[in-house]
């Protein structure tokens, strides 16, 4: 075509016809799923399926040498890729849960999914993270139980003492929130 002075070249994306089969059909399935879930879910704007830019950028920078820039387009593409990864991993993990006749996805399902997706390199760091998380949870639980014991001792020993233990309340609220999260219900 003719390019007049000052006319910018137009770039378009060349969409490949996906290979059929599990991987090729993923994008179609993602689109179908997004449409299907739209009426029922609470907040189904496209932004909600995205991950926060600031956090994504930081994670990318950690993986690259100092001073390397990331174009806005690249960052946005990686963010999209991350969302697709979550969906792919969830779908894979869900298959393992169903195989085990369970309705709740658990940690081992996610680990199995990583192997299935050929991301074995993630398995060891994930197992370490899981151990650390379990220790953290145990620590929180013990701290909260200890505080409760101390609180009970206090009220036994003293008379009506209206002490407000704000930290304690915060911990309990957080614990409750997490417990609620574990008991996910079918929408």
């Amino acid at each position: 075509g003719r390019r007049g002075a000052g006319r910018k070249p137009v770039w378009i994306r060349l969409w490949r016809r996906g290979k059929s089969g599990r991987r090729g059909g993923l994008r179609k399935r993602l689109e179908t799923e997004a449409r299907a879930s739209a009426p029922s879910a609470m907040a189904e704007r496209p932004e909600d399926l995205n991950l926060p830019n600031a956090v994504i950028t930081r994670i990318i920078k950690e993986a690259l040498p100092d001073g390397v820039n990331i174009s806005k387009e690249a960052r946005s593409a990686i963010s999209r890729a991350a969302s697709v990864f979550v969906l792919y991993a969830t779908s894979c993990a869900n298959n393992f849960a169903m195989k085990g006749k369970r309705k709740t996805l658990n940690a081992s399902d996610v680990l199995s999914a990583m192997e299935e997706m050929e991301f074995q390199r993630f398995v060891t760091p994930l197992k370490e993270a899981l151990e650390a998380y379990r220790r953290e949870q145990k620590g929180k639980k013990e701290a909260s139980e200890q505080k409760k014991k101390d609180k009970d001792k206090k009220t036994d020993a003293e008379e009506q003492d209206k002490s407000r233990d704000e930290d304690n309340e915060e911990d309990e609220e957080r614990l409750e929130e997490e417990e609620q999260n574990e008991e996910e219900e079918v929408d």
Partner: protein
């Protein structure tokens, strides 16, 4: 928020996971076959996603065009999705880009090719059959 970006919690300890769990859960739940997600599974998925982002960025940078080694570009990512086996599942969402004028030219050429083959009478497309 600043803490979330810096990757540290209130006490200055490095966080286990930086991505927001609530957002990860929203994405996971958008998959209709999934009913419940255990908290550990949620944390591991978030962590895995972080590892994935780093892996994708690092691989794309290494594999990059070589022209601009001070930047990671969309083209680097697209190339990686196309060429690397583990990232094939991203190929559809990270397509290559070409100039619109080139694409229109390609379309025209293909049309001419198809017409010529039909004239020859054997009716075969000559291109890969789509399964």
């Amino acid at each position: 928020m600043a803490d979330a970006v810096a990757g540290r919690d209130k006490c200055g300890e490095p966080r286990l996971v930086s991505l927001p769990l609530s957002r990860i859960r929203v994405i996971m739940k958008s998959s209709p076959e999934v009913s419940s997600i255990n908290q550990e599974a949620l944390v591991l998925t978030a962590k895995a996603t972080e590892l994935f982002v780093q892996h994708l960025a690092a691989c794309s940078y290494r594999r990059g065009s070589g022209r601009e080694r001070k930047a990671l570009t969309y083209a680097d990512l697209s190339k990686t999705a196309e060429e690397a086996e583990t990232f094939q599942f991203l190929a559809d969402i990270l397509p290559k880009k070409i100039l619109a004028s080139k694409y229109l030219k390609m379309l025209k050429e293909k049309r001419v090719e198809d017409e010529e083959e039909n004239d020859s009478g054997d009716g075969n497309d000559g291109h890969e059959a789509e399964s």
